[in-house]
Symmetry: C2
Subunit: 222 residues, 2 copies
């Protein structure tokens, strides 16, 4: 376990907690590690879980299936990433997804109740952990909200403008770089790449923006 401490230390969940303090904290949480073979099932739809999972090694996939049998990979989580936190901390503990190990993996399982119950030994890191978890959920909330706002737009054009407006706001300037290439941007906006590229061209022709690779500039619209 100890060899994972440098990894844990870098995680937002353990932010502000020193490597030598992890021992006491993990003990206090009675956190357990579980090992999974490649393709083993970590959770299935309908499972009830009050555990926050931390991928220590390997990787897991979060997969959703609809009733027609269509499978969608929602996420691939690698070492240092967290999963299940919304179901551990929320009212509804029933998982709507399957979680598989895509490689031989090791997962740290943290019980939600142990996490929120400050220990009798009044371990100070415990409070820090709760604060971190609050921050993680809040940050995710912001991200999800922003994405919904974009996906709520009907047209590719509107989605683009919503996304670029948010990026400009984040950058504090009408001129900014985005962290996606065209295909990734199209995937994020849930639209067709070529249709999107076409729309970018039109917006450029109309003098609404400049776009070159990752660099965008929103032009004053009067």
């Amino acid at each position: 376990m100890k060899n994972f401490y440098p990894l844990l230390k870098k995680m937002p969940l353990f932010n502000g907690i020193k490597e030598n303090e992890l021992d006491g904290l993990l003990q206090c949480l009675t956190a357990k590690t579980k090992k999974f073979d490649k393709m083993a099932t970590v959770f299935v739809v309908g499972d009830v879980s009050s555990f926050v999972g931390v991928v220590l090694s390997g990787a897991v996939q979060v997969v959703k299936e609809d009733f027609l049998g269509n499978r969608t990979i929602l996420a691939k989580l690698e070492a240092g990433e967290l999963f299940g936190e919304a179901f551990a901390c929320g009212k509804n503990h029933i998982l709507p997804v399957n979680v598989y190990a895509v490689e031989k993996s090791e997962i740290l399982m943290i019980n939600y109740r142990k996490m929120i119950t400050t220990c009798s030994s009044s371990c100070v890191f415990h409070n820090k952990l709760i604060e971190n978890m609050l921050g993680i959920l809040a940050d995710k909330n912001q991200m999800l909200n922003q994405k919904i706002e974009i996906l709520s737009r009907r047209s590719t054009r509107e989605k683009l403008i919503a996304y670029l407006t948010a990026q400009a706001q984040k950058a504090g300037s009408p001129s900014f770089m985005i962290p996606f290439n065209r295909q990734e941007l199209a995937d994020y906006l849930c639209v067709d790449r070529s249709a999107m590229a076409n729309e970018i061209s039109k917006l450029r022709d109309e003098g609404i923006l400049q776009a070159e690779r990752n660099h965008f500039e929103l032009l004053q619209h009067n």
Copy 2:
């Protein structure tokens, strides 16, 4: 202030906290109420806030503007509803929205730092408050995730199936009621009502589902 205690008691944020315990808690939080006239501004885009707002009376509107000047009302929050929690608890405290009072309103402002710092008087309700906030953020996360999963689908048909599959899962049965009428469902799925109604008809014709008003049934697809 005291006259709002029955309202507060019913809120998820103060769940498990008795009315007569609120006095001490709010004092401990140094929570302040602010009054706003009709149409007064509560927050503007760019404001930095570490406060969770609770609408005590009246109502506020959360409004977003893109750089072309298009205004979108994201939410209307009435008495007993919470806002700003993701920006109070998250890393990013900069608000991307405007908040207006749509009526003469009274807002309770709770400082995030006071909330997560357990008080020296070791007030037990404080821990309950933090747990509640964690739960609220986690629940919202689940809701937002589910919505994104639906909005990520390209076609109206796929959105419908994704939504109905989730509802069936939630109900634990292929036969269930939905909390929307057609227009509300279309709004939730971000599609055109008539196009959606059309699609429901097609799905019915194809024997994939039954639909009558609020009642749906997903039929076994072999």
